[in-house]
């Protein structure tokens, strides 16, 4: 954690901005596709254009926006949305903690606004650059913009084209949310002990669905499963 984190080699300069913007082809494409999908999904869920854009501008975190929007259609209470958003976005806390050794000597006036743009892609590239000794933290917000700008523009476009889609089921669009979470599952695997937490999470979510409270599924399943997983894995820490 302390390796390569000497303050003298860490900068926040135009070089980092340039390096970050160079990541646009890699980072903007998925952001555009997800943004488009979110715009379509938001429209189907009864959000008007201003509401869909408000969501993308204020939350700027794809998976949690899909989940919260889905919960909105189920008339879930705000608490359920917050627990779900916490569970989905707590990875940002871990990602910020991993960056901390590299950003702690930089002024808070630059770091705190930059972290609003923290997303999976720009975080991964910034941390990689820092670990390799090319640590210019301005890469984080610059690369973040290459995600945020297409994210918002394509939310708009998705909401606009969503009008022309009569039955989203034909294109499998109602399945995007599940495919997104399924695609992230293998990456979170760290060993056989995970099966304890995963089993509890599945049982919790299925039990809530069977009990007639499907909107509580993510919140209850994620909390119960992660606590069980944490207890199972705590010896490794």
């Amino acid at each position: 954690m302390s390796s390569g984190a000497s303050p003298s080699s860490i900068t926040f300069s135009w070089q980092g901005v340039k390096d970050g913007l160079k990541l646009a082809p890699i980072l903007s494409t998925p952001a555009a596709v997800f943004g488009l999908a979110y715009g379509v999904y938001a429209r189907q869920s009864g959000l008007n254009l201003a509401e869909a854009l408000a969501m993308s501008l204020s939350v700027f975190a794809g998976a949690s926006q899909f989940a919260v929007t889905g919960l909105y259609t189920q008339s879930a209470p705000l608490l359920v949305m917050l627990v779900a958003a916490f569970a989905i976005n707590v990875r940002f806390f871990l990602q910020g903690a991993a960056l901390q050794p590299y950003i702690r000597h930089l002024p808070k006036s630059r770091i705190l606004p930059s972290l609003f743009l923290l997303a999976d892609g720009n975080w991964a590239y910034t941390l990689k650059a820092c670990k390799e000794g090319r640590c210019d933290v301005a890469m984080l917000p610059a690369a973040g913009l290459t995600i945020a700008i297409p994210w918002v523009i394509f939310t708009y476009l998705g909401h606009a084209v969503g009008a022309g889609i009569a039955d989203p089921r034909i294109f499998g669009l109602d399945f995007i949310l599940y495919a997104m979470f399924a695609s992230m599952l293998p990456r979170s695997w760290s060993g056989r002990l995970d099966l304890i937490g995963w089993g509890v999470a599945a049982l919790g979510a299925i039990a809530m669905m069977r009990a007639g409270y499907p909107e509580w599924g993510i919140a209850v399943g994620a909390l119960a499963g992660s606590l069980a997983g944490g207890m199972a894995r705590v010896r490794q820490y």
Partner: protein
């Protein structure tokens, strides 16, 4: 067209919570690194979220949905490309529905 009060409250509270998580790891680590259980718990959250999200869909879905989930997980696992896995998963659901499954 305007933002309803309900959506405005959702955006502000979910947006604020998400921002606090974005700055939280950096701020908390600067003061006191989290203890063993807290770290083990937080590391266990992502997997639990993904399972809690897809398990109900898997048991209540039909052939297209179950096959779509299986394809997505398999591709993400073998290719290590989440994005491609998601697109192929959605396309396979659409395809299986189109042939009437």
């Amino acid at each position: 067209m305007s933002v309803s009060t309900e959506i405005l409250i959702i955006c502000l509270s979910v947006g604020l919570l998400t921002y606090l998580l974005r700055v939280g790891g950096y701020l908390v680590m600067s003061v006191a690194p989290p203890g063993r259980f807290l770290r083990a718990w937080m590391e266990s959250i992502p997997g639990a979220v993904f399972i809690a999200m897809i398990a109900p869909a898997a048991i209540s879905g039909g052939i297209p949905e179950i096959a779509g989930l299986a394809a997505t997980i398999l591709i993400a696992w073998t290719w290590r490309n989440d994005f491609a896995a998601m697109l192929i998963g959605v396309a396979s659901v659409a395809g299986l529905r189109a042939i009437g499954l």
